[in-house]
Amino acid sequence: MTSPVTDHAELARPEAFTQEGLGWVPWLEPVAEDDLTAQQRDALIEPARAKMPYFRLLARDPEALRARTLTDLDIFFNVSGGIGRAERELAAAATSRRNGCVFCASVHAAAATRESGRRDDVQRLLDEGTGADVGDETWNAVVAASVALADTPLAFDGADVDRLVAAGLDVAEIVDVVNGAAFFNWANRLMLSLGEPEVPARRRATEGSDA
């Protein structure tokens, strides 16, 4: 039997962190779209995800995929009584920047920009790193808390909470930041260890003409 692990020798790899859209290629074979069982399709939650190799790869364990996806969607999109979408995306981007997940950072930095209109602040996080000034104390405190929570052994502490409180966040908002950042410690590890990002062909053509 041939190895189930694929190298992508000729991949167009990103150079660094970016807000531009990236693709992602798996190192293990995803379930073929036509072979997805009813249980696996149900676990995708959103039918369009049957086109995406990442989700079809995770469909090899459908129960885990289903629970992961429903956790993700509630943490990021249920804004009732909590912090806004932009700050959640910022927590995701900061965590990804700290752990080194170029793919996750691209998706969630772009989402933070879309939700806030603050492209330059978000870009500084990507370019300068997690110590960058991202424009105001609320955002700086969200980034600092996300970065602290990424450390292993666990080191997030009362000072991180105090800084979020001083920036005006209430308990429900702080819990949203903690869960958004915590979730990306899950997502980053899957995206980083089961495949890798690639620069899509349409962007390579554009960059070639710019160079």
């Binding site: 429903l70 956790t71 249920n78 009732s80 997940c101 666990l154 950042a181 915590a182 899957l190 089961l194």
Partner: protein, 212 residues
């Protein structure tokens, strides 16, 4: 088994029903429920298939120790000890030799190499492998990679798992297990820290300038 009914994040965070933080968690009911279902799917599935529950607990006990979270070390250590006491001793010894401080690692991306940070590439000592078994020893090395230097993960690491007998399906489950624990332990730890600061966080009068 107590784990079938208890909410594990509440348990690790020290949150009781009726606590202020329990009510906050209730406002994200789908996340709360599915964090618990993730635990069940990855640690105690109805059909564990070719990945026995003892191996799942072993990985979790190892990961909990690397995170330095005492309540999680006790929780997962006790689960493993009940299921496979000899393995619990071997996993604890492995974890003792595996401590590090992350995240670290080298980047694949040329523009990020100035941020490369070296650190330990851990695997079990040869003398420790028989007690763990080759298959689990390889899984623990992979768990260490994912916990501390996920940005260094490469196809060769998946090939090492395949060589030790891991199928593609089981590699996905193992990856989900370690990655899920990275979330679960941080969510519970964060809630525990917030609970310790609950007075200042819920009482605006005690925090100057934090009116809203």
């Amino acid at each position: 088994m107590t784990t079938a009914s208890a909410d594990i994040i509440d348990l690790l965070a020290g949150i009781r029903p009726g606590d202020a933080l329990s009510r906050v968690r209730d406002s994200r009911e789908q996340a709360r429920e599915n964090a618990q279902r993730s635990f069940e799917a990855l640690l105690e599935p109805a059909d564990p298939g070719s990945l026995p529950v003892a191996e799942r607990y072993a990985v979790a006990a190892f990961v909990a120790e690397l995170h330095g979270f005492p309540q999680a070390v006790s929780f997962y250590g006790d689960l493993l000890d009940d299921e496979a006491p000899a393995l619990a001793v071997a996993v604890h010894a492995a974890a003792e030799s595996a401590r590090a401080s992350g995240p670290y690692g080298r980047y694949r991306e040329p523009g990020l190499r100035s941020e490369d940070l070296d650190g330990p590439h851990w695997s079990a000592e040869p003398a420790a492998v028989p007690a763990l078994g080759e298959r689990l020893a390889t899984a623990l090395a992979h768990a260490h990679l994912l916990v501390f230097r996920p940005r260094e993960a490469r196809p060769e690491h998946l090939r090492a798992l395949v060589s030790a007998g891991w199928s593609a399906d089981d590699i996905v489950t193992l990856s989900q297990l370690v990655a899920f624990l990275a979330f679960q332990l941080r969510s519970a730890w964060g809630l525990r820290v917030i609970a310790g600061h609950a007075v200042s966080a819920v009482d605006p009068a005690s925090v100057e300038g934090a009116s809203s």
